[in-house]
């Protein structure tokens, strides 16, 4: 038995090495450089060798120490179970402390402009993660084009705010409605698709929206983007250092010194409130018939049909509501940046949001927060080492997938299949 296992691990690692060679050979090994205005290939076989060895060795070690049955339930689940247990028992207290911390965060002594910016960015991703969690985590529809709704929200917000001069609080719901409409638009053609096929179509949808934004110049100014998007005001009081004659601004109204931080703090609370609304909505809707139908659909579509749940409406509402929150987040993004262009809505954004949801443990609201802090934090930490950022990002994902294959917080108890496996052991 043991010898067999060793043999198969070695075989498996050699195979992994071969795959790595096939992938990295052409990508890394055959590097093209410009020489005298012509491209020539300058082979980098040594680097390829290093990568291949690292991959094969890594696979061998994981086989030996992690996928090895005798060890498996050692490393993997003790950490995981204790985290999950801790959150199960102390869940409400932790959530409450996290909210209190977020509320006082802007006024903590160490909080500066840089930290505020990161916090705002994290909250935006948390909100997007929670929004997408409705589609992926609850309804079980793998949507790889979520950024499309973020974009639709941002552009609808920007266009209405620029052309009609409407305030943030009017444009926000409009942007949400537009995004929801696009959600239905995507939902209809994919009603019959599941799994991989659904993922491919949604991915294409995300790209289509971006290309549309890039080419519909009259409306979107294409690659130039939209500038001069109005900044949000504090219930009609703008944040300005030099008010016009007779104009009330935030700082004059409250008798404060002007500081650019005031607007940042306002934006911070704005996204905090929007994100918390998303979370509250999800928690509430899970207890309503429609939310229950989403989860049931994720579990078993045929059972749903035989019980009289209408899968079409159920899926469409999931797409629409998920998209709506993406649209809200997009509005916030537009008003915060004051400038948007299609470049902000590429596939990598979708990928990050999906990664947040999946790594968080699909369907877990707390998991989304942890995954965001982890991933966005990682990207930030590596900001100064730009070239290593993606390696760190990829490496982190591999590690999570090895140690927590169901996500950081797989709060859901193992399904039947897993129980069977344990029993078989």
């Amino acid at each position: 038995m043991r010898k067999n296992f060793l043999q198969s691990s070695i075989k498996d690692s050699l195979f992994t090495g071969l795959i790595a060679l096939a992938l990295f050979g052409p990508i890394v090994g055959l590097r093209t450089v410009a020489k005298n205005e012509v491209l020539v290939v300058s082979p980098k076989w040594f680097i390829v060798l290093v990568i291949v060895v690292v991959c094969a060795l890594g696979r061998f070690l994981t086989n030996l120490y992690i996928y090895n049955r005798d060890q498996k339930y050692g490393i993997q689940s003790t950490i995981g179970k204790s985290i999950t247990n801790f959150l199960d028992t102390k869940g409400t207290q932790i959530a409450l402390s996290a909210i209190i911390f977020s509320v006082i965060f802007p006024f903590l002594p160490f909080t500066d402009r840089y930290l505020m910016d990161i916090a705002i960015m994290m909250l935006t991703y948390i909100m997007l993660g929670w929004g997408l969690n409705i589609v992926i985590g609850l309804a079980g529809l793998l949507d790889l084009g979520y950024v499309a709704f973020y974009a639709v929200g941002a552009y609808s917000y920007a266009l209405f705010a620029i052309h009609f001069g409407w305030s943030f609080w009017i444009c926000l719901p409009i942007a949400g409605i537009f995004a929801a409409m696009f959600g239905v638009l995507l939902g209809f053609p994919v009603l019959r698709l599941r799994g991989d096929y659904l993922a491919i179509v949604t991915l294409a949808f995300g790209e289509m929206i971006r290309i549309l934004l890039l080419n519909w110049y009259q409306l979107t100014k294409g690659p130039d983007g939209l500038t001069g998007i109005p900044r949000p005001s504090f219930f009609g009081l703008p944040f300005k250092s030099f008010p016009d004659e007779g104009e009330q601004t935030f700082h004059t109204f409250f008798g404060l010194e002007y500081s650019p931080m005031q607007r940042i703090i306002f934006l911070y609370y704005l996204i905090l409130v929007l994100a918390l609304i998303t979370n509250l909505f999800t928690i509430k809707i899970r207890r309503l018939p429609i939310g229950r139908a989403w989860e049931a659909l994720r579990e078993d579509e045929i059972a749903c049909k035989s019980l009289g749940v209408n899968p079409r409406n159920t899926k469409l509402t999931a797409f629409a509501i998920g998209a709506m929150f993406g649209g809200f987040a997009g509005s916030f993004f537009a008003t915060r940046q004051a400038f948007i262009s299609p470049e902000s809505f590429t596939f990598i954004e979708s990928a990050i949001i999906v990664a947040i949801v999946v790594l968080g443990g699909m369907g877990s609201q707390t998991g989304v927060v942890l995954a965001t802090i982890f991933l966005i934090g990682l990207i930030e930490v590596f900001r100064d080492f730009e070239s290593y950022r993606m390696i760190a990002f990829g490496g982190a994902m591999v590690l999570i997938m090895i140690f927590r294959p169901r996500g950081i917080l797989a709060t859901r108890k193992p399904t039947i299949t897993l129980q069977k496996k344990e029993a078989a052991k």
Partner: protein
Amino acid sequence: MLLISKVETFYGNIQALRGVDVKVNSGEIVTLIGSNGAGKSTLLMTISGVNKASTGEILFDDQHIENLPPHEIVNLGISQVPEGRRIFSRLSVEDNLRLGASAYEKGKNFDIDVKDVYDLFPVLKDRLNQRGGTLSGGEQQMLAIGRAMMARPKMLLLDEPSLGIAPKLVNQIFIAIKNINKQKKVTIFLVEQNAKKALELADRGYVLVNGNVTLEGTGQDLLKNKDIQAAYLEGGGKK
């Protein structure tokens, strides 16, 4: 009450039903027996509208239902307990029951209807907050039947409720099916491989072979039939 005539159903090129005629009268327990792959589940899914009949008619209370979507068929009063139970394993028992009620006025009468389910299966009452997947096989079958009953059906379709369940619980489930029929006045169409038990319970029965109905008669007659005894009862039938 239910009249199925000349129904043919295909999976792509594979023909699963080859012109099935079945009639179920109001208040009856009718059983359909047949070996693995005969097309029993396909017939139930065709009645429920999950699979579509390519030809033939299905009338329920004199209304054509062969072209209705599944949720409208449930609303008309036909609920199905699908093969293999299909419990939502990661949802709680309560959520499973509430989902059963989603067709009937969006679960407005949940508290009333759930009492009827507790009467049938008292175990479920103590398990409300447990995940469906953590129940035993027999309990899951009870939950599946209870879930279907939440839609206040006039007619209940049951697909092999004894499949993979301990014999003691099978008895309990068959008693519950009888109660549903006698006390709640729900018409039963029961699909089984456990032919003996099903025929003992049923008023009438049909035998399905390769997508064709080959025999029909009262439960007692079919039990005595030599061919059936050879094929489904003496060792041939599954326990």
